[in-house]
Amino acid sequence: MAKAVLVDITKCVGCGGCTVACKLYNELTWEEKEPQLGEKANLCANNWTVVQKFAVDTPETGVWRYIKRQCMHCLEPACESACFTHSFVKTKEGAVIYKPTELKQDFCVGCRYCMIACPFDIPKFEWDKALPFVRKCRFCNDRLKAGEPPACVSVCPTGALKFGEREELLVEARQRISASPHYVKDIYGEKEYGGTSWLYLSDVPFEKIGLKTTAFEKPVSKEPIPLYSWNVLKWTPYIFVGWGAVLTALHYYTKRRVEVHEEEMYEAVETKEDIKQ
């Protein structure tokens, strides 16, 4: 079964331990210009997960909320469908992995379609390298395979991150929502873009903590992004075969017409000569 992580925003104390765990476990480098904690934190080639701080205005007072961001590990990833070299794959454990670095299968040509396709703006490019890769959270794939939670989840001291089966986590999330009136009555990631393996619970509106709730001035789609291209591309074989059939038919039609025409010409010529004789 596919694993998932439930992020409860209301339990995050903002220590940023998860970001350090990610760096330590995945041996990522530190850059002073790229903080992984605070208002200015952003994902980049060496920040696979960041904890962003948002000052949110509530009816009573202003509050601080911290949100951990990383690859959402979509159930049907857009990056996977966009990549024509099949560099991305969704494993059965639930991770969306990048094969060139994960499995040492160098397919990637650096076209960066994945970066355009991703609705969450997750894959990042190693701009400063001559032979760059696309880099992003790998859900600690090796740990996941061994049945262990990813590094970030294993160090969360407050229980804001919970690792488990996706279905079980969804049940628990619904229980938490019904038990407390503070929560937003929705689980971010349950249906967004066809569902993701990282699920978010919050007591402030999702859009106020940087989660994408609208795209092109419409609520985000509940359909997986690959479905959009599938709706078009699924006709490819029919069009291919059908167009071939049409052309073949045309070919035979025209060929036959020429034959008939020539025969008629020939007959006509013979007829003339017959008349002379």
């Binding site: 350090v20 765990a21 476990y25 480098t29 904690l37 007072t61 509050v63 001291p157």
Partner: protein, 529 residues
């Protein structure tokens, strides 16, 4: 050589040229290759990977987590590159200070921190550190227009030596003064002077509370430890009326330096820079509290701060090392006059129980008008490093005064719970945020092992030994304090003293999600298996 004909010479030259070109082109290619491929090699950041984590199979047995530290914290900073998630900061914050895990989530709009700095002492990689203010001091010292005054806390003189290879508890009061002079401070004064002053004010306040002359409840809490004050404001705001209104010695000094001292020395207060050397990171926060500008208010310039820059013992040591000043080679010098004199009562401020002992000595004198008995000069029940200490002292005219002493806020919490439930038999309670009092403060030199009672005992003994050999041991005997009251403040708790030396506290309960504190305690230290 002569036999070498010109043809051969030319040939060898040619070969050399060809070889040279080959080498050059080879280098060029190699250079191109290296340049192109260098992007693929992981960048060396120069950081040492702790051996604990060098082997990934160790993960995550030794990886626990860490406490939240706000990037804007005035006292402590954390360098994430050095953090190994060992969780020792959690232990210090939760078990020693009972802060982390004792409030409910979600957070409100503040990262709960009492600024005590105990986490800086336990962090094995030095990832958590004091906020470095040494540059500000250097800038002030370099400015010829500024008159830079420095004060030194009671506990730095038994710890600074450790940074220069001396044994724990080495008494370096004289050398410290000499070192500060070498750094270029215009006047080197003593926080101990205002420690005596604090006792004068605090003992007077205590007697007034006991006699019912002011409408404030008993027991009275000491107010010298800014970490403790913030703790009380967060977790027990309903008990704030118990808190003595006296400022801490640092802030009393700051308020007097820009008024009393500047007036005496004819220095315009705007040119005055007040620096303090403290064993404490919370003092950095205290100096930045908005209400700590009473000298400015008094002079009609509210922008003036009482204390401008606070350095910890570690920062002072760093500054001295930067300037190649070796404490071992310095002579012993004396503090500058006017605010440099101190008594034994002030010296023991640096140890847990010290404020209590000094206050009891002076309170005895205030009530009876007589010298306290010899037992009050060696008040053993209030000395030592046990977490909560109790004692009672008979003062003729005031009856039996029951006192309690606690250090480390986890112990403080136990005492506060008793007071909250009305089960407190005490009249006066001393609270110190750090274990051992100021001598174990969060700004004191780091030790190679975890901070232990062994080191604390050595520093503690050093303070009490100094008290025992001091000529004057009661705060009210300090001639400069007597002169201050005579010339400036008139008497303890006079109108001017109230204005300059006393303060008010604010409840920080709204920064704490207190809706379900019982539930909050469930997020205890979680060791991941």
């Amino acid at each position: 050589m002569m036999s070498l004909n010109s043809k051969e010479l030319e040939e060898s030259k040619e070969i050399t040229r060809r070889a040279f070109l080959k080498i050059i082109s080879g280098l060029g290619l190699t250079g191109l290759m290296a340049g192109g491929l260098s992007g693929c090699v992981p960048k060396q950041t120069g950081e040492i990977t702790p051996p604990l984590l060098a082997k990934s199979k160790m993960w995550p047995e030794n990886v626990v987590g860490r406490i939240p530290i706000d990037p804007d914290n005035p006292s402590i900073v954390r360098y994430d590159e050095k953090c190994i998630l060992c969780g020792q900061c959690i232990q210090a914050c939760q078990e020693t200070q009972s802060v982390y895990g004792f409030y409910n989530l979600p957070v409100v709009d503040e990262t709960i921190c009492i600024n005590c700095g105990q986490c800086t002492l336990v962090c094995p990689t030095g990832a958590i550190s004091e906020r470095d203010d040494t540059r500000k001091v250097l800038k002030a010292l370099a400015d010829p227009d500024k008159f830079v005054v420095v004060q030194t806390a009671p506990a730095t003189r038994v710890a600074l030596g450790e940074e220069f290879g001396m044994p724990a508890g080495a008494w370096v009061m004289g050398q410290q003064v000499a070192a500060l002079r070498r750094l270029g401070f215009d006047a080197v004064l003593d926080t101990n002077f205002t420690a005596d002053l604090t006792i004068m004010e605090e003992a007077t306040e205590l007697i007034k509370r006991i006699k019912g002359e002011i409408d404030k409840p008993l027991p009275q809490f000491t107010s010298c430890s800014p970490g403790w004050i913030k703790f009380c404001e967060y977790f027990y705001p309903e008990l704030l009326p118990h808190m003595s209104s006296c400022k801490s010695p640092q802030q009393m000094f700051g308020a007097l330096a820009k008024t009393y001292y500047a007036k005496n020395k004819n220095i315009p207060p705007e040119k005055f820079v007040s620096v303090s050397i403290m064993p404490c990171t919370a003092k950095k926060f205290e100096a930045k509290r908005p209400e700590m500008n009473d000298s400015g208010l008094c002079l009609g310039k509210p922008a003036l701060r009482d204390v401008d820059i606070v350095l910890t013992t570690r920062e002072l040591a760093r500054l001295l090392k930067q300037r190649n000043i070796d404490l071992n080679k310095l002579p012993k010098e004396n503090y500058d006059p006017l605010m440099g004199e101190s008594t034994g009562g002030a010296i023991i401020f640096g140890a847990t129980g010290g404020v209590m002992e000094a206050a009891v000595r002076t309170a005895y004198f205030f009530v009876t008008g007589q010298q306290p008995p010899a037992s009050l000069f060696n008040l053993t029940p209030v000395r030592g490093l046990s977490g909560i200490k109790e004692a009672q002292v008979d003062i003729p005219g005031a009856g039996t005064v029951k006192v309690a002493i606690c250090h480390g806020m986890a112990n403080g919490r136990k005492v506060l719970e008793k007071v909250k439930q009305g089960q407190s038999p005490w009249h006066f309670i001393e609270f110190m945020a750090c274990p051992g009092g100021c001598l174990g403060g969060g700004g004191q030199p780091r030790t190679t092992a975890l901070p232990s009672d062994e080191i604390r005992t050595k520093r503690l003994n050093s303070l009490y030994q100094a008290d025992a050999r001091w000529q004057r041991r009661e705060s009210h005997e300090n001639p400069e304090v007597v002169a201050l009251y005579h010339k400036f403040l008139e008497h303890p708790m006079s109108e001017l003293a109230e204005k300059l030396l006393h303060t008010e506290y604010v409840s920080r309960a709204d920064k704490l999600n207190r809706t379900a504190v019982a539930a909050a305690r469930s997020w205890k230290l979680r060791v991941v298996k």
